[in-house]
Amino acid sequence: MAEASRAQRRISPAAMDSVASPELQEARRWFAGMVLARHFEEEAERAFRRGKIGGYLHVYTGQEAVAAGWLAELRDDDIFFTAYRDHAHALLRGSPPGAVMAELFGKATGVAKGKGGSMHLFDVPRGFYGGYGIVGGHIPLATGAAYALRYTGTDRVCLCFLGDGAMNGGAFHEPANMAGLWGREGLCPIVYIVENNQYGMGTSVERASAVPDLASRFAAYAIEHERADGSDFLAVRRLARRTIERVRSTGRPYAVEMRTFRFAGHGAADLFQPYRSKDEIAQARHHDPIPILERQLREAGLLTEADVVRIHEEAAAAVAEAVRYAEESPEPPASDLDTDTHA
């Protein structure tokens, strides 16, 4: 099974044709971004264990191709929202790794001045509207934001990343219904990107959703939808391009269920993962998006082994620099306690 899926992912001449050469060239940059995100998350887990990061820590290892594939197609003036597994989204959108790490460390130089932490990364100048900790709670915000983009006469679009676990709450169903209604008038340019990593914390999709085909559930709200593999960056990106162009031109919502795999536990405290077997985790690693893209790029002659080594070294160095920056940054001053409650 794993062998078969690997074979399918071998880049075919047809796929080469469908991705223009500049995009493949550019894929090297996104490969480097995914590698950076991977190193960042691994280092964040170590920093958590060293007591440098407090609270909760939810890492994105295994899912990188989803954020990378979609953000690769997002225009600079477009916007996006996500939940609390949000570090890679910020990094791949271009937030400085030092400012992201500093936020995790609770420092004044963090992207949210140390007031949000891991779950509440924000970078509004880059169109990143957060980072939310209540499962599904950001879906209504993203839906209203999409309406505002169209109401003000722009062709900007909004991406709303959400987890499989978020689809069983009212905060999913109510805005999805409104998006279906507003979409009739071309007033809701949003893509709901369900990052189906198979588990809502420790409860599998099969145990939580009466209809495990999550994409199909959007049919209830007249939102067009599809399921796709979220481990293959090039495929995700092609889907993203097609979808974003369509949403931009129609103003209608679209939904995509991305099948993906979370290699780590739900959060840093989820060490033993009693709800899934070691074998299952090992199987998931066959879908690691980073070696998949590496193989595709090497087969296309765009990446050598030396390039790969260098990219990993650069990522490790950038993350080490981010940690140094975070550690050396000052804590927020006491005077920051009660600022930003009101304008």
């Binding site: 709670g137 915000l141 209203g144 003000t152 905060a171 805005p175 930003d340």
Partner: protein, 327 residues
């Protein structure tokens, strides 16, 4: 000055602000075609069209959350909740998103959102549709909580709410929609938040009230006046921020205080106000602060029981006399 009803004070303010700024849009259940449950939005769908006057499904969580997202993107949504009772369905959105997103983003977003609708006891609406929820919202940092008692308050405070940059819990009262009063014709007339008004001068006792209870307090003070007791009545206008300075100044003149609220007694606005008086004017007091509150029960349906569950003039008069040791 022209006279307007409380309802028309609200409605004309919506019109003035929508004419002034295309970012102001309305959302809510049956605010358009139906003309609004209490007709505050009557005719506005015709005036502004369905993109600006959005009839929503019955999805409080969904449309309040969507309005927060709109506000973060620069619109100025004014959401009508048919009554504040239904806002509980959206409590997570209000408390965890609207109130906090400026803070946890490190100040990267504004949330210029107004949520308005009637709060407080109705007439035989029973337990789920007849409650005062100001203490729930007054507890939350990041929100403004506003409770106009008069048509002028309604207009002046709604204008400030709409032109602001933060979420405002705007608590109207169904019993007041028909109330008439003088309202400035100035299309920029606005009342600042956190500024209470002394609506009746008196030397013997301070009565602090807001929303509909202001009128009950004023009626009680008229009757007290006939008995030679001169009550000073303070209309709070906003609960968050709370104008403790005005309250303390009044208590400094009268040395006695009665705080009136319609809601349940425990952990209510009156407890907060009384605590502020004790903290800031303890030496001024000649008697303990009295609280007049609703009964500590879900609202009953039967009219006789319902009347026992909400404060009346007699309750305020009794409390005032207690502070004067005239029982």
């Amino acid at each position: 000055m022209p006279e307007l009803t409380y309802r028309d004070a609200l409605r004309t303010t919506l019109i003035e602000e929508m004419d002034r700024d295309r970012a102001v849009i309305l959302l809510g259940e049956d605010i358009g075609l139906y003309q609004g449950t209490f007709r505050v939005t009557a005719d506005l769908l015709d005036r502004y069209g369905p993109q600006r006057v959005i009839d929503t499904p019955i999805s409080e969580l969904g449309f309040i959350g969507a309005a927060i997202g709109m506000a973060m993107l620069g619109l100025r949504p004014v959401v009508e909740v048919m009554t504040w009772n239904f806002s509980l369905l959206a409590l997570d959105q209000i408390v965890n998103n609207a109130a906090k997103v400026r803070y946890f983003s490190g100040g990267q977003v504004d949330v210029p959102l107004v949520i308005r609708g009637p709060n407080g006891a109705g007439v035989q609406l029973s337990a789920q549709h007849s409650q005062s929820l100001e203490a729930i919202y007054g507890h939350i940092p990041g929100l403004y909580v506003v409770a106009p008692a008069t048509p002028a308050d309604a207009k002046g405070l709604l204008r400030t709410a709409i032109r602001g940059r933060d979420p405002v819990i705007f608590l109207e009262n169904a019993a007041l929609y028909g109330l008439k009063g003088e309202v400035a014709a100035d299309p920029d007339f606005a009342l600042p938040f956190g500024r209470a008004e002394v609506v009746r001068r008196g030397r013997d006792v301070t009565i602090v009230a807001y929303s509909r209870m202001l009128h009950v307090a004023l009626a009680a003070s008229e009757r007290l006046g006939a008995e030679g007791i001169q009550a000073e009545v303070v209309n709070l206008r906003t609960l968050r921020p709370l104008d403790t300075r005005a309250i303390v100044a009044s208590v400094g003149r009268t040395h006695r205080a009665v705080v009136v609220q319609e809601q349940w007694r425990l952990f209510g606005a009156a407890a907060e106000i009384a605590a502020s008086i004790y903290e800031q004017a303890f030496d001024q007091l000649d008697a303990p602060v009295e609280r007049v509150t609703g009964a500590d029960v879900p609202m009953p349906y039967a009219r006789n029981l319902e009347l026992l569950a909400v404060p009346h003039e007699e309750d305020i008069i009794r409390a005032v006399k207690k502070t004067l040791y005239k029982t």
